[in-house]
C-alpha cells in the first residue's frame, strides 16, 4: 500500500510502528492530521508521533499521568515522507531528520559504550 491508496484510517494506520529508512524503530503513529475543510476533500497531511498526541485518545487522568512520566512532546511526520503502509509504516528518510530519535539519543548518552560482545 502507498500513501495515496485509500485506507481505513483507524483500522489500518493508527498505532502502527514507524520504521525509518535505516531500519530503526522511531515511534508509533499516535494520531493523524488532516488538511481540508467542510465541503472540501479531506486529505491525510501528517502522522503525529509522541505522548502529546495521547491527549485526544486517553481519559484526562490517564493523559495527566502520561504527561508527568513522558512529557507532551509531539512530532509531525509529513505524509510525503511515508513510503509504504503495511504491518509497519516505512519512512523514506532517517528518523533523526524528522526529530524522531531525540529521546533515544538523549538516553543513549547515559549508556556506556563498552563491554558487549
Amino acid at each position: 500500500m502507498t500513501p495515496d491508496s485509500p485506507i481505513k484510517l483507524v483500522s489500518e494506520l493508527l498505532d502502527l510502528p514507524l520504521l525509518d529508512s535505516e531500519g530503526k524503530y522511531c515511534g508509533i503513529v499516535d494520531d493523524v492530521e488532516f488538511s481540508g475543510d467542510a465541503g472540501k476533500i479531506l486529505e491525510l497531511k501528517a502522522l503525529l508521533v509522541g505522548p502529546g498526541a495521547y491527549e485526544r485518545r486517553l481519559p484526562g487522568w490517564a493523559f495527566w499521568l502520561v504527561r508527568k512520566i513522558a512529557g507532551d512532546r509531539l512530532t509531525r511526520v509529513p505524509m510525503d515522507r511515508v513510503r509504504t503502509i503495511g504491518a509497519v509504516v516505512k519512512l523514506e528518510c532517517a528518523g533523526r531528520d524528522l526529530g524522531l530519535h531525540r529521546d533515544e539519543t538523549r538516553v543513549g548518552k547515559w549508556i556506556p559504550r563498552k563491554g558487549a560482545l
Binding site: I28, L58, A87, V107, P112
Partner: protein, 411 residues
C-alpha cells in the same frame, strides 16, 4: 537443522515450565493429588505450543513481534491496560525468580539470602549486557537442561507407569469433599496459568525477531515450539510424579523449592541433590532473565522504541535502560523482605487475569490475512486457538474466587 537452533524454545520452556512457581506448584500438586493433575499440564502444554507457534509465525510473516502489533489491534486504551497488567505480572514474576535464585544459592552455599539476591541480580545484568542474544539463550537454556536429573530420578525410583499414563486422561479424582474439589480446581487454574505465562510468548516471538527468522524458518518455529515446550512439560510432569511417589504417601508438603530438590537426592544421593539444585539454579536464573527481557520487549515495542539484544546495548538505549531498571525494581521487591512464595502466588494469580488480554490480539493477528498472507491460521490452529481462548477466559474468571475460597490452595 542444527540442534543449537532449538535453544530459543528450550530457554523459553525451561524458564516457563520449571521456574520457581512451577517447582512449587508441580511438587505440591503431586503430593496433594497424586498423578491426577498431570492432564492439566498436558492441556496447558498443548495451549502454550499453539500460542507460541502462532506468535513465532506472526513474527516471521509480519516481521513484527506480538507487542508491536498488539497496540494496533487493541487500540491505545485497551493496549495500555494490557501493557500495564502484563508489566506488573512480569515484574512480580521476575522478583519471585530473583528471590528463588537467591534461595537456591543459599541452599547450595549457605550464603545469606539477601546479599545473594543482590549479587545474582548484578551477575544477570552483566550477562545480558555482555552476551549477544544467541549466547544468552544458549547459556541459560542449555545449562537449564541439568534439570533432566528430575526425569532421571523418576525413572530410578520405578514409579507406577500405568498410573502416570492414567494421569494424562482428563479426570477429577473420585471421593473428594467440596473443599478438596475447590482446592483441585484452584490447582488446575494455577498450573494452567503457570504453564501459559504470557512472558513466554513475548520472549519467544521477540526472540524469533532477534534471531532474524524468515519465512524459510516456519518449520524451525514449529519444531522449536513443540520440542522446547514438550521438554519443559516433561520436566514439570517429572517433578509432579516424583512428588506423588515420594512425598504424597508420607504427607510431605513441598512448600519451598528446596523440598523438590530432595526428589533427586533420594535415588542418587549427594550428587543427585547437587545436580538438582544446580539445575534449579540455572532454570530459575533463566526464568529471571526471560521475564525481565520479556517485560522490556513489551514496553519498547508498545512505544515503538529500538529494541533487541542483537543490537549493542547502546544502540537501543531506552530498551537497555528499561531492562536494567526492571531488574533493579525486582531486586528492590525482594530486598523489601516479602516472602518469595507469596510473590509466586501473586505472580500466578495476576498472570492468569491478563492471559485473555494477551492471547486475544495474538489470535486476531494470526488470523488476519492482510498481515499473514499464506501463513494465516489454518482450521486446526484457528479451532485450537479459540478453544484455548475460551479455556483461559474461564480460568481467569474462576481464579480470584477460587483463590479466596481455598486461601490460595491451602484448603
Amino acid at each position: 537443522m542444527n540442534p543449537l537452533e532449538l535453544t530459543l524454545g528450550i530457554m523459553t520452556a525451561v524458564g516457563g515450565f520449571v521456574d520457581i512457581s512451577e517447582l512449587v506448584f508441580a511438587a505440591k500438586a503431586g503430593s496433594t493429588f497424586g498423578y491426577a493433575l498431570i492432564w492439566v499440564f498436558a492441556v496447558g502444554t498443548i495451549g502454550i505450543v499453539v500460542f507460541s507457534e502462532m506468535s513465532g509465525r506472526v513474527a516471521i510473516a509480519a516481521k513484527q513481534p506480538v507487542f508491536n502489533l498488539m497496540r494496533h489491534r487493541l487500540g491505545i486504551k485497551l493496549g495500555l491496560l494490557t501493557l500495564v497488567a502484563s508489566v506488573i505480572s512480569n515484574l512480580i514474576t521476575c522478583a519471585a525468580e530473583v528471590g528463588g535464585v537467591a534461595l537456591i544459592l543459599n541452599y547450595l552455599t549457605g550464603a545469606p539470602y539477601l546479599p545473594m539476591a543482590a549479587a545474582m541480580t548484578v551477575v544477570m545484568i552483566v550477562s545480558i549486557w555482555v552476551l549477544p542474544f544467541e549466547w544468552i539463550e544458549r547459556v541459560y537454556g542449555l545449562l537449564g537442561l541439568v534439570m533432566l536429573v528430575f526425569a532421571a530420578a523418576l525413572v530410578a525410583i520405578h514409579p507406577p507407569w500405568d498410573k502416570i499414563a492414567g494421569g494424562f486422561v482428563p479426570h477429577i479424582p473420585a471421593g473428594l469433599s467440596t473443599k478438596e474439589l475447590l482446592t483441585f480446581a484452584y490447582f488446575s487454574v494455577a498450573i494452567l496459568s503457570a504453564v501459559m505465562f504470557p512472558y513466554e510468548v513475548y520472549f519467544y516471538s521477540s526472540g524469533g525477531i532477534e534471531e532474524g527468522w524468515a519465512p524459510k524458518d516456519m518449520l524451525k518455529n514449529r519444531i522449536t515450539s513443540i520440542v522446547g515446550m514438550g521438554l519443559g512439560s516433561l520436566l514439570a510432569i517429572a517433578i509432579l510424579a516424583n512428588s506423588a511417589q515420594l512425598f504424597g504417601p508420607v504427607n510431605v508438603d513441598p512448600e519451598i523449592p528446596g523440598t523438590a530438590a530432595m526428589q533427586a537426592a533420594i535415588p542418587f544421593g549427594k550428587w543427585g541433590l547437587i545436580l538438582a539444585l544446580l539445575g534449579m539454579f540455572f532454570a530459575v536464573s533463566g526464568a529471571a532473565v526471560e521475564t525481565c527481557m520479556a517485560n522490556a520487549y513489551s514496553i519498547a515495542q508498545f512505544f515503538g522504541w529500538m529494541w533487541g539484544r542483537h543490537k549493542k546495548p547502546w544502540e537501543a538505549p531506552r530498551f537497555t535502560l528499561t531492562w536494567i531498571v526492571l531488574f533493579a525494581l525486582a531486586l528492590l521487591i525482594v530486598l523489601s523482605g516479602v516472602d518469595v512464595m507469596t510473590l509466586v502466588e501473586f505472580a500466578i494469580l495476576f498472570s492468569i487475569l491478563v492471559l485473555p488480554l494477551t492471547y486475544l490480539p495474538l489470535l486476531l493477528l494470526a488470523g488476519d490475512k492482510k498481515y499473514m498472507r499464506e501463513h494465516v491460521n489454518g482450521p486446526l490452529a484457528k479451532a485450537l486457538g479459540w478453544l484455548y481462548f475460551a479455556i483461559i477466559t474461564a480460568a481467569a474468571l474462576a481464579a480470584l474466587p477460587l483463590y479466596f475460597l481455598t486461601s490460595g490452595g491451602n484448603g
